[in-house]
Symmetry: C3
Subunit: 139 residues, 3 copies
Amino acid sequence: MRQATESVTIRTSGQALYEFTRQARAFVTESGIGTGLLTVYVRHTSCSLLIQENADPDVQTDLIGFFRRLVPEGMDWLVHTTEGPDDMPAHIKAALTQTSISIPVVDGRPVLGTWQGIYLFEHRRRPHAREVVLHLIGE
Amino acid sequence: MRQATESVTIRTSGQALYEFTRQARAFVTESGIGTGLLTVYVRHTSCSLLIQENADPDVQTDLIGFFRRLVPEGMDWLVHTTEGPDDMPAHIKAALTQTSISIPVVDGRPVLGTWQGIYLFEHRRRPHAREVVLHLIGE
Amino acid sequence: MRQATESVTIRTSGQALYEFTRQARAFVTESGIGTGLLTVYVRHTSCSLLIQENADPDVQTDLIGFFRRLVPEGMDWLVHTTEGPDDMPAHIKAALTQTSISIPVVDGRPVLGTWQGIYLFEHRRRPHAREVVLHLIGE
């Protein structure tokens, strides 16, 4: 049984979904591990992780649109406002999605469905460098 | 240290919660692994996974009712509409719940609480065959 | 490769976020495992887990305020009402957050970001003793 870890930096420029499926697949391939468990973890609380459809980009537009409507800027009862109007909504959106996702690896590949992609979901307006840690255990 | 993997097909017929706790428990028992980590992963983006109460079925009714109200069909700003009025709401509901859940295994059993069941949460109206991958690592 | 497991009881007194980052870190340190995967699992369905900012306590106030507004008590269409007006909203809030979170461990520490804390999110009004299972695999 072996392990591999890697840190990936994803540079974001506004509220959107940033796919990094290719990097995650490459990490698994390079490890030489055939059967195992891949975990993806994001070290921030104003962005998050999501596995979603990567076929029609309209799906991403609508996901972003839904979360913007569900957690709008300007909710007047918020008390954490010092870091800008998009910060507290960002924390809430992160709480509603994932900080960590684990994916089984079989035959040397994560068992993603045909149309599943792994995304960083950026909830802040300004550019950020986001650190994602990849961990793999298996043999 | 050993691993086991299995693919389970869950046939759904409409928006509901489909319990597969029994299959997950059997998978752990058959592996002979006493201490470890069980991961459940669904290979689709219009259904999801949920650990919820399996005592009173009214809880499931209300969970479905809440998500239907939070993410109704017919939101007129949606752009991804080609796959039917229930498709984009399904992606959103999946984003709000889980694609992957990991459960520690102790004494040869997943450490589910007394009333916890593992469910596939189907968000589409029409019947689907959903593939869930089970992964176990331990000894 | 080795494993460690531990059960932690968190005593709650009302709807709030209860941080247990310190206990999780201590569990990893005491195991002597340098590289691995830490999984945190809660054995209940009316509370949940969250990784969120532990710098400004206002963030917690707003998270609680948002979920209270999104899933208010008194929704008149609920059918599961026998366990009190806060019970079904608690199940829904748990479904919208996490039951299980996995965090890579590198250099003997979970790779939590600088401001990330691990929280039990209690959704019930009355005091409860909540059981969280910690699992670590690595070497």
